[in-house]
């Protein structure tokens, strides 16, 4: 009976399931029914919005990508839907919501046992941990235990990386008492930081420098999703051999996707704020012992405004597009996550002490690997989207993202669980 009702709720799809689940979780954290239900419903509505935008993206871009294959033999038929969609797909997974209390408990246990000093109050980015769970859930045909284990493994790795990078976050970014346990930033840091150290030893490159202000002026357009969407859309229309009318249409549609997607995710975010505040208050009310340098784990968004990070990310936008075309084995058409590159390079820039030339070199390698990993696990990514009841048009139906698909930690976790 219980199993049947759980199955019934899961089958209703995320727009109905999440309002119910978030209402229950909210009430468990001591919110009244009215407030909890309001949050839940807001999240459901966020989902409705995201579904509309993904549909717009996949329908438009899918057709153009297909045309490019026939015209130039450019096999870029996996669409990068971007982290906002990846996060939404994750929350839609049956295992995701339960990962909120689990991740919090794991954090508390690690704090008590002194395995970490990070008090991770950034609930929103628990989605990265939940993403590992959701992927393994698909991989194992719905094994809850292994899925939860995968998420915990991912969380432990991210917290450890956040511990190791905390001194850099405080010295270079000047964020006192803060660490950044954000999944994508940590994963790219894990491979990017050693590459930076290596690059800084190469004679000739070692002393090169670039000025962030000049780069921000020259590449500023890549920092505006609205304009970037328009230009990329029109470019794809041209490559697909469309007529002038259709080139203009796809340009405006893609500007729409880039502009609207964050708006929709913002609605999701608003629904999550009450739960997030409850968890924060709960974690901060606990005393994990004096004489310890605890750091508060925040979203890496607090660091990415740094001039060198912005400059590096802007330069990497055209580089990533170019890589996608020339890199053998890549099938991902970068789009949604071109706006997220600043997160991937935050730790790299920190490790390079703000040297943009070194950061761009390391970033290029990291983005290349990201494209290949995103290609490699696109089938799971797509299957998760289908389970989340997102509309996938026939024929063009493969999606991935640089944030979740091209994430080194997620990829490793998947490879481990593929062996089991």
């Amino acid at each position: 009976m219980l199993l049947e009702s759980v199955q019934f709720i899961l089958n209703l799809g995320p727009t109905v399931m999440l309002p119910i689940v978030i209402t229950v979780i909210g009430m468990a954290f001591g919110q009244g029914f009215k407030k909890a239900f309001r949050s839940g419903l807001t999240i459901g509505v966020g989902f409705v919005g995201i579904n509309l935008v993904i549909n717009l993206l996949v329908t438009n871009l899918g057709g153009a990508a297909q045309q490019m294959v026939t015209r130039f033999g450019l096999v870029l038929n996996i669409i990068d839907v971007g982290w906002p969609a990846a996060a939404a797909i994750t929350w839609a997974s049956p295992v995701a919501a339960i990962m909120i209390p689990i991740c919090m408990l794991v954090n508390i246990v690690l704090l008590i046992t002194k395995c970490t000093d990070v008090v991770d109050i950034d609930i929103w980015n628990y989605w990265h941990f939940a993403a590992a769970s959701a992927t393994v859930y698909v991989l194992t045909d719905g094994n809850w235990l292994l899925a939860i284990l995968a998420g915990i493994l991912y969380e432990v790795a991210v917290l450890k990386i956040a511990d190791k990078t905390a001194p850099m976050v405080q010295e270079f970014f000047g964020l006192e008492g803060v660490s950044l346990p954000t999944g994508s930033t940590a994963a790219c840091g894990l491979i990017g930081i050693p590459i930076v150290k290596l690059v800084q030893k190469i004679p000739g490159i070692k002393n090169l420098k670039a000025d962030p202000d000049t780069i921000q002026k020259r590449f500023g357009i890549f920092g505006e999703p609205l304009m970037m969407g328009l230009i990329l859309g029109m470019l794809l229309g041209i490559l697909a051999g469309y007529g002038f009318d259709k080139i203009l249409q796809i340009g405006v549609s893609m500007a729409g996707v880039m502009f609207l997607m964050p708006r929709m995710v913002k609605i999701l975010m608003e629904g999550l704020i009450p739960v997030s505040e409850s968890v924060r208050e709960f974690l901060q009310s606990k005393n994990f012992g004096k004489d310890r340098n605890l750091t508060i784990g925040l979203d890496a968004a607090v660091a990415v405004g740094h001039p060198a990070v912005i400059a590096t990310a802007l330069v990497l936008v055209p580089i990533t597009l170019f890589l996608a075309v020339i890199l053998p084995g890549n099938q991902v058409l970068p789009f949604g996550d071109l706006a997220t590159i600043c997160f991937y390079v935050a730790f790299i820039v920190g490790a390079a002490r703000g040297n943009i030339v070194h950061s761009v070199i390391a970033g290029t390698i990291v983005m290349g690997l990201g494209l290949l990993m995103a290609t490699n696990i696109a089938s799971f990514h797509t299957q998760m989207a289908i389970m989340a009841h997102f509309n996938m048009p026939e024929g063009t139906a493969t999606i991935s993202s640089l944030d979740m698909g091209g994430n080194f930690l997620n990829w490793i976790v998947i490879k481990i669980f593929q062996l089991i």
């Binding site: 906002p84 980015n125 920092g223 999703p225 995710v265 704020i273 607090v302 990415v304 740094h306 912005i310």
Partner: protein
């Protein structure tokens, strides 16, 4: 007396995550103190497009360059350490 409505930019790295939290706090703060102002939420890289019409920039992230308008750093809203100080800074900046 009709004051011109002031415009407050709330910016973070994504224009989605931390700026939503801070944006809500700023809106509540402005309403509670009867300040006639509107909040625009954006990415730090989009600030340039709004800068000329805005009166104040509230940001959770590091400043990527110098701005023409006053800036209040709001990381404390996220860490919840002494948020009252930021409340005051914002209100003072809009006087």
């Amino acid at each position: 007396m009709m004051d011109r409505q002031k415009i407050v930019l709330v910016a973070c790295g994504t224009g989605i995550a931390t700026s939503t939290v801070v944006g809500q706090k700023v809106e509540t703060l402005l309403a509670a103190n009867h300040v006639n102002a509107k909040v625009i939420q954006c990415k730090i890289t989009e600030v340039g497009s709004y800068e000329d019409q805005a009166d104040l920039l509230v940001t959770t992230t590091i400043l990527s360059r110098a701005y023409k308008i006053p800036v209040v750093k709001a990381v404390n809203y996220l860490t919840n350490i002494n948020p009252g100080k930021i409340d005051q800074e914002i209100l003072d900046a809009l006087k």
